[in-house]
């Protein structure tokens, strides 16, 4: 059986949550195989990452190279192609780096490619059966992937729960020597942090989050009034930012901010995984949406089928009443 590799993403010496998720996904492919962690980088933070991986992976292949200090997918792909054995299965997290790296990697490794996997059913001979979604999560599909010449799979963040079992022992193998000079037609320059808005949604315990269901910019105050009464902040999903109804700093999601509130009111949000990817720390999610079939109801704790344009103002009124009563 081929080897299974997990590509590890890390930043400033901290391993991304996907590392343990990929390990869990690997076990779903074949419980008998121990996945190998693939990690690239350079410097002190990198060393810390390599040691920390011992808690999850029994074998870790590292590539330390000056050129890889910043994770440039073009360079990393070239490095991986040099060290990954043929017919291997490589798992990568499906987020901005994985999308950059993985499709091209599958071509260079001459393997199959299945993106955004959120369920693994198992092996059927030389094929792997997995579960994906299409149409923004409205329908699911079973997919069969021929893995006889290997496969690259990107795994949906949060789809596989960490197994929390540390390996008995762990070996770190330095593969740096197999990777020589790396150059690519894409050169990293710098990163620009977003302008901090007046409101930092990552610091609030309660978020009133709005999506497309708010319908127009003029309705945003409905959410703002409720947030004010609750002592909360207003956040939103991507479509609201695309339509320029709120600034980017309010966006929760894979391309926005990651938040860890205690209570999350998802108002008129359909619940795409890119949005949910920004919700961490297991908040109590209350979802209000006109569409009873909205995917958000699968992840929320409490669900209400109603029009947020009617529901939220009533909440605001109620909270005001409660405040005026308690003030007396």
């Amino acid at each position: 059986m081929a080897r299974i590799f997990s590509y590890i993403v890390h930043k400033s010496g901290v391993i991304d949550d996907s590392a343990v998720e990929l390990a869990a996904a690997a076990r779903k492919i074949d419980p008998a195989i121990s996945p190998v962690a693939l990690v690239t980088g350079h410097g002190a933070g990198f060393d810390a990452v390599c040691s920390a991986l011992r808690n999850t992976y029994s074998e870790i292949w590292t590539v330390s190279n000056q050129a890889l200090a910043y994770p440039n997918a073009e360079l990393i792909r070239k490095a991986l192609v040099k060290i990954v054995p043929p017919a291997s299965i490589v798992l990568v997290a499906h987020e901005h780096f994985g999308i950059d790296l993985a499709p091209g990697l599958s071509v260079k490794l001459n393997s199959s490619y299945v993106p955004d996997v959120l369920g693994i059913e198992g092996l059927e001979g030389s094929a792997l059966k997995v579960v994906r979604q299409e149409f923004g999560g409205m329908v699911s599909t079973h997919v069969r992937c021929d893995i006889s010449s290997g496969a690259v799979l990107t795994i949906r963040p949060g789809a596989f729960k960490s197994l929390d079992t540390a390996p008995a022992s762990s070996t770190v193998i330095d593969k740096s020597a197999e990777v020589d000079a790396l150059t690519a037609g894409r050169r990293y320059l710098h990163t620009i942090a977003p302008e901090t808005g007046a409101v930092d949604i990552t610091k609030h315990a309660v978020l009133v989050s709005i999506g497309r269901g708010i319908q127009e910019k003029d309705n945003v105050p409905i959410a703002e009034e409720l947030a004010e009464e609750l002592g909360a902040a207003v956040s939103c999903s991507r479509p609201v930012v695309d339509a320029k109804w709120l600034e980017k700093s309010r966006q929760v999601g894979s391309s926005g901010k990651t938040v860890k509130p205690k209570v999350y009111l998802a108002c008129g949000i359909s619940g795409s995984f890119q949005h949910l990817a920004g919700l961490k720390g297991n908040p109590f999610i209350i979802a209000i949406n006109k569409n009873p079939k909205a995917p958000i109801f699968q992840v929320a704790d409490i669900g209400i089928v109603d029009d947020i344009l009617e529901f939220l103002p009533e909440m605001t009124t109620k909270v005001r009443e409660m405040h005026s009563v308690s003030a007396k």
Partner: protein, 263 residues
């Protein structure tokens, strides 16, 4: 600059209700309205703006059947100089790699400086752009939301990464970029514009035109195949409140307070 945009015709997610059909093996396709994949439309608009700034032509290409011609015409009405359809019975059932191979064959018949695709389409794969780049051995960047032409051979691009951060990189031309929605404000294409291009030719290329080995494309060459469509038995599901609005509001506020959220 010669710019190629790879586009795809998909069911319009905002104007359709996506449901399983009665047989349970596909989505209900009757009454679906199709249009160009939203991200691809942003890509065409971006290509047109670049061509307007530095001079050049925009070609829009799609792999599909006759029905897909309509999106090519729409993009031509938008301003693309040419629309091309790659069509062949042997292309049916292609997986992402197959589509990329078909596009690669087309690209190699001409000389393009820049290839744009939308970041992803209805299948949520986000794969064709990256594969095409690897097949051509061109540099690639995904989730691009800003492009600046530095000179004939270089671009400065911005990628949208986590936390709202923007990653700035330099790209050598020729390269492939996948474009994120919201990069620009696409211009409107009205019925009149579409009528005006209704009689313009849209050249088609078959597998033999592209000198493609049929074994590498279509269902024959596909290593990844969709087995079915289904709606999963709902796993963890929200507790749905069933009261009237007033009741629900009260319950919600109770819960918010209980979970530590009321000031």
């Amino acid at each position: 600059m010669e710019i190629l945009v790879c586009a795809r015709r998909v069911p319009d997610t905002s104007e359709n209700e996506i449901q399983l059909n009665s047989a349970g093996n596909d989505i209900e396709r009757e009454d679906l309205v199709y249009s160009i994949n939203e991200a691809d439309n942003y890509a065409v608009e971006e290509a047109l703006q670049i061509a307007n700034r530095v001079g050049g032509n925009v070609t829009v290409v799609s792999v599909g059947s006759d029905e897909d011609e309509e999106i090519l015409r729409r993009e031509m009405a938008m301003g693309a100089s040419r629309g091309v359809l790659l069509t062949d019975d042997g292309f049916t059932g292609s997986d992402g790699r197959g589509i990329a191979a078909i596009l690669k064959a087309f690209v190699q018949q001409a000389s393009y400086d820049l290839i744009l695709t939308g970041v992803q389409a209805e299948s949520g794969g986000a794969q064709v752009g990256g594969m095409l780049a690897a097949m051509l051995d061109w540099p690639f960047a995904s989730l691009v939301n800003s492009i600046e032409v530095l000179d004939q051979r270089k671009l400065k691009i911005t990628r949208e990464i986590e936390g709202g951060n923007k990653e700035i990189s330099e790209m050598d031309l020729p390269c492939v970029l996948s474009i994120q929605t919201g990069i620009n404000e696409p211009r409107y294409v009205g019925m009149r514009g579409i009528r005006a291009v209704a009689s313009l030719p849209v050249p088609t290329y078959s597998a033999s035109d592209l000198r493609l080995d049929p074994a590498t494309v279509g269902a024959a060459g596909a290593k990844v195949k969709r087995v079915d469509y289904f709606v999963p038995a709902l796993g963890k599901r929200a507790e749905m409140l069933t009261g009237g609005r007033e009741e629900n509001v009260a319950k919600v506020l109770e819960l918010v307070a209980a979970k530590g959220g009321l000031k």
